[in-house]
Every structure is written in C-alpha cells, then in structure tokens.
C-alpha cells in the first residue's frame, strides 16, 4: 500500500489535497488525522507505514497523479487469493484462518510498516495483515440488511443479475465486501489505505 511518505509527496505537489484545503465532499473531517499538521507527518505517522485516514477521492487523486488508477475489486480480490506459496490459496484453511485472525485483532497497536511480511505468490505485499484497501469500484455491491424485514426491500435495488460466489466459505472476502459496501467516497478511517494499479 501507499505509505505516509509517498502520500506526503503527493500532498506537497498538490496542495488542494492538504487536510485544511480539501472539500468535505472529497474527504471527511478525519482526513489525515494522524498527521501532525497538514504538511507534517509527525511521530504518529511513520514514513513507511501505510497511509490511512484517506478517502476514495484522495486515493484516486493520488493514483491519477502518477498516471495510474485504483485497482478494481476483481483485480484486488484475485491478487488477494494467493498465499506466499500458492497462486490460489482458497483451499488452504490455515491461510484463510490467518486472515480471519487478523480481522479479529483489535487495532490498538501501531500500524506495522509496509513490506515487512512475506509477499504473496505474485510478489505482491501486504494484501492481508496490514490495512483494508480502497478499490476503484468500492460502491459496486448492493448489500441489504436482513431481507425479511419490510417490503421496501423490493424497491431498493434494480438488478438483473446476481453475485455468485464460487467459494461460499471465503468469509474473508465477504467481510471485505460488506466493509466496502459500508463506505462512502469521502470516508476516511484508521485502518483503510490503498494501493494503485496500472
């Protein structure tokens, strides 16, 4: 994922993304909250930690400034289906459990730095075990609450297709999907960072 240092460079070059400049439409009031000031990292934002407290708009702008883009959910999930040793690790219960264990951990300790874990089969680092990540089409899933409640369920969504999961036991993916569905484009949170794709 993109680090504090990298994002700092971006903000320096594009001051409209300073936390005291940006519209609330693009980033909420917690944007870069962990930085000491709008142009200072400070002790709570180590250079090589993944940048967090960034919104989708901010992440998108960063990627576009490098002529890149946010990954599609499909791309992200594909890359994330591999473990260190296997291209497709969804049949590895130990690997799956490790991810779920990480999700179960409360995030009270400091964020580790990037690239400290072993990379996956595709040599991509930190898709698991570090931060949740924005994707380009984060708002592409229609998740409803318990569909037994109330008739308004019928009119909420227009859909002529459906999602089919080939692996109904990939709980981690479902968790990520639910998480993404709860996001709005200007949200920023402590554990949400991003990376770019080309």
């Amino acid at each position: 994922p993109v680090t504090n240092a990298q994002f700092f460079n971006f903000v320096q070059k594009h001051p409209q993304w300073k936390r005291d400049q940006v519209s609330k439409i693009f980033a909420d009031e917690h944007y870069l909250a962990h930085w000491q000031s709008s142009l200072q990292l400070g002790p709570k934002a180590q250079a090589n930690q993944p940048v967090t407290y960034v919104s989708w708009f901010a992440a998108k702008a960063y990627c576009e400034s490098l002529s890149k883009r946010l990954p599609k959910e499909e791309e992200w999930e594909f890359a994330a289906s591999s473990s260190e040793s296997e291209a497709y690790a969804q049949n590895d219960p130990i690997w799956k459990q490790r991810i779920l264990d990480w999700y179960a951990k409360p995030s009270s300790s400091a964020l580790p730095e990037v690239k400290k874990q072993a990379p996956n089969f595709w040599k991509v680092y930190d898709l698991h075990g570090l931060v949740w990540e924005w994707v380009g089409d984060f708002n592409s899933s229609l998740v409803s609450s318990d569909s037994r409640e109330g008739t308004d369920q019928k009119t909420r969504f227009c859909g002529s297709g459906g999602l089919k999961a080939t692996d109904k036991e990939d709980y981690a993916s479902f968790m990520r999907m639910a998480f993404r569905s709860s996001l709005r484009a200007n949200y920023t949170t402590k554990n949400l960072g991003f990376r770019c794709a080309q």
Binding site: S141, L142, S144, Q153, L163
Partner: protein, 219 residues
C-alpha cells in the same frame, strides 16, 4: 489456474449468500429469495446518508454532456434547488419509476416553486446513453430542457458522481446495471439537504422539503 472466488461475479443466477445477507432484486420486482442470516438488524445501507456536511457537491468538476449535446458541469443548476439522481436508459422498471416519482414531486410544486426547481439525472451507462439517446428519452418522457437535464458522464465520472451521492452500482455483463435508487435534494449552493429512497419516494415529504428550503423562499 483457478481464479478468485469472485470469478463468476456476473452470473445470472440470483443467489443469496446467507452468511453476509447479500441480496439483489430483479428489476421486474420478482420476489427475493429470503436469506438465512440471523435476524440481527443491521444498519440499513440506503437510509438517508450523510455523504457530506455543509459542503457543496459542486466542488466536483466532472465533465458532463446533456441531451442537447451541450457540455455542462454538475453545477449547471447552481442557484436553484436541484433534485439529482442516477438512472440508465435501457433500465426497464425502476428508472422509469424513479422518473415518474420525480414528475409527481414536480406536480406537487406550485407556480413559482415549480419554475425554480431543477432536475439533473446522470446516466450510469456511458456506452449506450449518448446525448442522442438521452434526447430521445427526454422527448419520450416530455422533459422540458430548461428544468430537466439528462447527462452523460464518462466511466470515471459516473463513479465519482455515484460516490458523492452515495449510490451503489455495478455493470452487468449484459450491459445493464444493478444500482440503488436515491434521490438527492440540493440547495441552491449544491449542498446536500436530504436524500430519499427513489422508488418508494415520499412524494409529499419531498415537495414539503423543497417548499421549506429557506434559500429558495428568500429569492
């Protein structure tokens, strides 16, 4: 090589994933399969969403083209109260319904107020809903150009506008869209004042809200 568990993302099957309670309903209003999740009530995703606080969405510079092939911005109706939503032309059921609801609101507004209100509808479909297509739609629904704009945005622009409005959508392999329907009311400065479910829209409440927009009354 096996692909990720989302490789069959766009299958035509309506399958409810019981664990997380994902549900997608057909456009034609076919009954949903009930999920088997616990009865724990989750926060409803599409309730009135606070997508911004006091900030104007006109900060967005997304380029749009309207039904007369005129390049416009999201802020085309700055200075007027605006009802903004998203739709697509080949949508069979919910989009016409959404449009009909907007017209119902319009009919409840009288004289001066009706003259002041504006409607901006951005299409999800950057491929099929060209300005020419949008013009046909506008004619079909008898939408007067001065007050109603149907807009084409590029693929990235669609995602941005949906992001700002809190609308979820996904393109299906058949070229349609699964999407939520949310009507957003903007004040004359483009700040989000309220949001409403688009299909079960509370017509009278929306009309009332528009009438009570203080910046409209003082103009």
């Amino acid at each position: 090589m096996k692909r990720s568990s989302f490789s069959s993302l766009y299958s035509l099957c309506l399958i409810i994933i019981g664990f997380m309670g994902l549900a997608l309903v057909s456009c034609l209003g076919a009954p949903t399969k009930k999920n088997e999740s616990t009865s724990k009530k989750e926060h409803e995703v599409l309730k009135t969403v606070e997508v911004s606080t006091g900030a104007s969405i006109y900060a967005l510079e997304t380029p749009l083209v309207d039904q007369e092939s005129k390049p416009i911005g999201v802020k085309i109706f700055q200075g007027s109260p605006v009802l903004i939503s998203m739709f697509y032309g080949s949508c069979g059921y919910t989009c016409p319904l959404l449009l009909e609801n907007l017209k119902k609101v319009d009919r409840q507004l009288e004289g001066d107020l009706q003259k002041k209100i504006r409607y901006l509808l951005v299409s999800f479909d950057d491929v099929k809903d060209t300005p020419e297509e949008l013009k046909k739609l506008a004619e079909k629904h008898q939408l007067d150009y001065e007050r109603f704009r149907l807009a084409h945005a590029g693929e990235g622009g669609v995602r941005e506008i949906a992001g700002v409005l809190g609308i979820q959508y996904r393109k299906t392999p058949e070229g349609g869209f699964n999407h939520s329907s949310l009507i957003t009311l903007l004040n004359t400065k483009g700040e989000i004042v309220a949001q409403y479910e688009g299909l079960d829209a509370p017509i009278s409440s929306i009309a009332e809200k528009i009438k009570n927009l203080s910046d409209v009354l003082t103009k």
